[in-house]
């Protein structure tokens, strides 16, 4: 049994970093990630984190120094969000194809404009097609545990991909909970040996040209480029297995079991389900419990791993219900609905029977998604079973 802390999500993430023992950490403060940067700085000052802390001049360089360090053999960590992530995008974009096992928290924040410093998942959702692994946490404890697990996933030889551990700005970043800090020795045993650059390195003992021009219309270029892309896809698909295995091992060692890809909550006898992601899931579960007490046969599907997309797990969950309502905390402008909803529609294609699906968007720019909001989600989804299917996305906070 580890030490019990009372801390917010940003401090929980910093404790996860401390236990993961990275060599190099770089951070640039941005709301609502700033206190995470401060916790890390204090931990380095206190000797709790023994990493080299690089306080560089912006997020673009944050990820760049970590890429360099990783290519030299370092285990690394950073955290950002919102505009910081946008500024970081250029190096971010190439991290996954370089197969660098970086770990980074996104303390999710809504996008500007309108100018906003509050929570929302628009930042993380916007970068979902860059080949990073994306996991969303529900609680502060899950943040701490998932940061540590992320290294085992990223550095797995069948994966070798960067991991974003996402937690909701405001709700988790500043929300205080009881958290158990696992013992250092037990985490050391869980982590095993580090080897971040066996496959691609900047090392005079193993000279190589890292990232030569690849492609073009002739010669070996086209097939070589495809082999890199297919290798990346394979790493992503392998990650589904590795994420599951790592979560199982974590549960065995530390007694905390999390659904690695998709959590099913009161789903087995449900007629219909709501789908959540991130910290809203707690309120969603409470609303489901309340509805159950009123006789509604409703369940909840929580998505933890959004990249790689957990197609099989989601398909298995959806196969148990006759209707589904999806709550997003960001917007897919192309589809006038939420991105999780849109991707879930792809999973529905693989079901034998077509079921109604409703898109809800809530919690933008720090807005609360309350149990009352979830009651509306549940009611609306239930009515689809009687043929009342909304033709458009429902914006939960529109009339707050």
């Amino acid at each position: 049994m580890g030490k019990i802390l009372v801390c917010d999500g940003n401090e929980a993430a910093a404790w996860g970093v401390a236990r993961s023992k990275p060599d190099m950490v770089a951070v640039f403060p941005i709301t609502p990630q700033s206190s995470l940067a401060e916790y890390i700085s204090q931990f380095v000052a206190d000797g709790v984190i023994k990493a080299d802390l690089m306080d560089v001049e912006g997020e673009h360089s944050v990820l760049s120094v970590l890429q360099g360090a990783c290519l030299a053999g370092a285990r690394t960590y950073t955290a950002s969000c919102g505009q910081g992530l946008a500024f970081m995008f250029e190096p971010y974009f190439r991290s996954a194809p370089l197969r660098l096992p970086l770990v980074m928290s996104i303390v999710t924040r809504d996008g500007i404009t309108p100018q906003s410093v509050w929570g929302g998942q628009q930042d993380a959702m916007t970068v979902r097609e860059t080949g990073w692994i994306h996991m969303y946490c529900e609680t502060c404890q899950e943040i701490l545990d998932t940061v540590i697990m992320a290294y085992r996933i990223a550095e797995n030889r069948d994966v070798m991909l960067p991991v974003n551990v996402n937690h909701d700005g405001n709700y988790l970043s500043y929300g205080v909970e009881k958290v158990e800090l696992p013992e250092e020795e037990e985490v050391d045993a869980f982590m095993g040996e580090k080897n971040t650059n066996w496959h691609v390195a900047l090392d005079p003992d193993r000279p190589m040209g890292v990232d030569p021009l690849t492609g073009g219309a002739g010669g070996v270029g086209p097939s070589l480029f495809v082999s890199y892309r297919k290798g990346h896809c394979k790493g992503m698909q392998n990650a589904l297995r590795v994420i599951t295995e790592v979560h199982e091992e974590w549960g065995e060692r530390f007694g905390r079991y999390y659904a690695p890809l998709v959590e099913e909550y009161r789903l087995d006898d449900a007629d219909y389900a709501i789908v959540t992601i991130g910290s809203m899931s707690g309120a969603g579960k409470d609303a489901v419990d309340a509805a159950r007490e009123e006789g509604e046969k409703v369940g909840l599907i929580k998505i933890k791993t959004f990249r790689p997309f957990p197609l099989q797990a989601l398909r298995d969950a959806l196969a148990k219900v006759k209707a589904v309502g999806v709550v997003d905390r960001s917007v897919s402008f192309a589809w006038n609905s939420g991105p999780v909803y849109q991707e879930l529609l792809s999973a529905l294609y693989f079901l034998d029977n077509r079921i109604p699906a409703v898109s809800f968007i809530g919690g933008l720019a720090g807005a609360d998604i309350t149990i009352d909001h979830f009651k509306r989600v549940i009611d609306t989804t239930a009515r689809t079973l009687q043929g009342e299917v909304p033709s458009e996305c429902i914006w939960l906070n529109e009339n707050d």
């Binding site: 001049e57 030299a72 370092a74 005079p204 000279p207 040209g209 030569p212 690849t214």
Partner: protein
């Protein structure tokens, strides 16, 4: 690169045509003063400003030796002297045709060829030359120090004819050596194949493509980790002006401010040459580029170049220098200092890098163009050492040439009006005066004057 040997250097601007050298040579070789026996001669066409010299250069790869069918000519590997063996010579005189310098000539009196043998290291002509137009010296001594080191850049790269970047790459890597991580952001250097194409690389050290924007940051991360695990590895960036002065400037500035340990070389060809000759912030005023074209309304770039090396001085880098390849020993000296300085912090070298393709001049004129850039004071050669706290001009140009002699040799300035030429001369003079303020003895005392 081979070895540097003694030779006789000639300074045409000092020669007055007195012919004392000719007499001295004839005297010591034949004990007569008949010019016909001299191995050296000076001559001048009426239209020429200076005298020209006919004398054996003791070439490193002598054409006469290569072409001699009788093996009568050999290069002595110890002394460097190209030796003529009278007993083997068949008097075909092919050597006199092969030599581009008229360094081996036919003597009609002896009916044999003759050539300079450097008088066993004490040449009579040099001693006889009162205006000191002749000097006995070891040419390119850097080759003796570094010449045997491995060229870490493979042959057969895809550079344009007469590319300065290729020269920079080869010399820099040769000097810095293989225990180095090399960053070549997008631009001409990876364009010619530094990192390679489709799985095949051209550099024998670890080498990579950073982004155009993050070269200094990525190298800083590599270096910090090697320091952490106690490995001494040198970091080298070979970036263009875009990757250093423009979109790469934020990360360079940040790394310089933090004192990250690396050698950052800016290969400044004054524009985005690899993408087709577009303007950059270091493109000089008046220069034609594809994005500062010449037309009715505008005639080339309307703004002055950003003074990147001075900006790096103001970052208090450990070492900052400018360099140009006609002054190779100056460049090697600066590389030496940069290597040492990079163990303490940022060493920044800004290399003036004329581009025959993008600047529109004949590739054979590369070194001449670069030399004129320096000798007009448009590109002063200097260094800044942090512990001294001031700039030192390493190649003083006593009588700077007018800028027009440089500008007229380059196509991208072909359109310049008289007003524009006057402006460039004035700005060149002003910039040089500003630079001189930084050379004052006390630490950056000149700054307040400059401001």
């Amino acid at each position: 690169m081979g070895k540097g040997y003694p030779t006789i250097a000639f300074y045409p601007e000092k020669c007055n045509g007195c012919n004392d050298c000719v007499e001295a040579c004839a005297q010591i070789k034949t004990e007569t003063s008949e010019p016909v026996h001299s191995r050296i001669s000076v001559a001048k066409d009426p239209d020429d400003e200076f005298y020209g010299l006919s004398l054996c250069r003791q070439c490193g790869d002598p054409r006469c030796v290569m072409d001699c069918p009788a093996r009568a000519l050999t290069k002595n590997e110890d002394t460097g002297v190209v030796h003529w063996d009278e007993t083997k010579c068949v008097n075909c005189q092919i050597c006199t045709l092969a030599c581009p310098y008229a360094g081996i000539t036919y003597n009609r009196i002896t009916d044999q060829v003759m050539k300079c043998d450097l008088c066993n290291g004490d040449p009579a002509c040099v001693k006889a030359c009162a205006p000191m137009a002749l000097e006995y010296k070891i040419g390119a001594e850097i080759y003796n120090t570094w010449g045997d080191l491995e060229d870490l850049f493979v042959p057969g790269v895809g550079a344009c004819l007469g590319c300065n970047s290729e020269l920079i790459m080869r010399h820099t890597l040769r000097r810095i050596g293989p225990n180095t991580v090399v960053a070549t952001p997008p631009g001409c250097i990876p364009g010619v194949g530094s990192v390679g194409v489709n799985g095949i690389t051209s550099t024998k050290t670890p080498v990579f493509h950073p982004l155009l924007t993050n070269t200094a940051s990525m190298l800083a991360g590599v270096k910090r980790y090697y320091n952490r695990i106690g490995r001494d590895v040198t970091m080298l960036a070979l970036a263009g002006d875009g990757g250093a002065a423009d979109v790469g400037f934020q990360s360079l500035s940040g790394a310089a401010e933090r004192g990250e340990q690396m050698i950052f070389v800016c290969v400044d060809n004054e524009g985005y040459m690899n993408t087709g000759v577009q303007r950059s912030s270091t493109t000089p005023y008046g220069a034609w580029t594809t994005t500062t074209p010449v037309g009715e309304a505008l005639q080339g770039k309307t703004r002055d170049a950003k003074p990147l090396p001075l900006l790096m001085v103001l970052h208090s880098c450990e070492y900052v220098a400018t360099a140009a390849l006609p002054f190779m020993e100056d460049f090697y000296m600066k590389l030496d200092k940069a290597i040492e300085a990079s163990k303490r912090g940022m060493a920044f070298i800004h290399i003036f890098s004329p581009c025959p393709t993008g600047w529109r001049f004949d590739p054979s004129q590369l070194i001449e163009v670069a030399r004129k850039g320096v000798e007009t004071n448009m590109v002063p050669l200097w260094e800044y050492e942090n512990d001294l706290g001031r700039i030192n001009i390493t190649h003083v140009v006593n009588e700077p040439l007018p800028v027009v002699t440089y500008l007229k040799s380059i196509g991208k300035y072909r359109h310049l009006s008289d007003e524009q030429l006057v402006y460039i001369q004035r700005k060149t003079d002003e910039r040089f005066e500003l630079l001189k303020k930084f050379t004052k003895e006390s630490k950056l005392e000149g700054l307040s004057d400059a401001a």
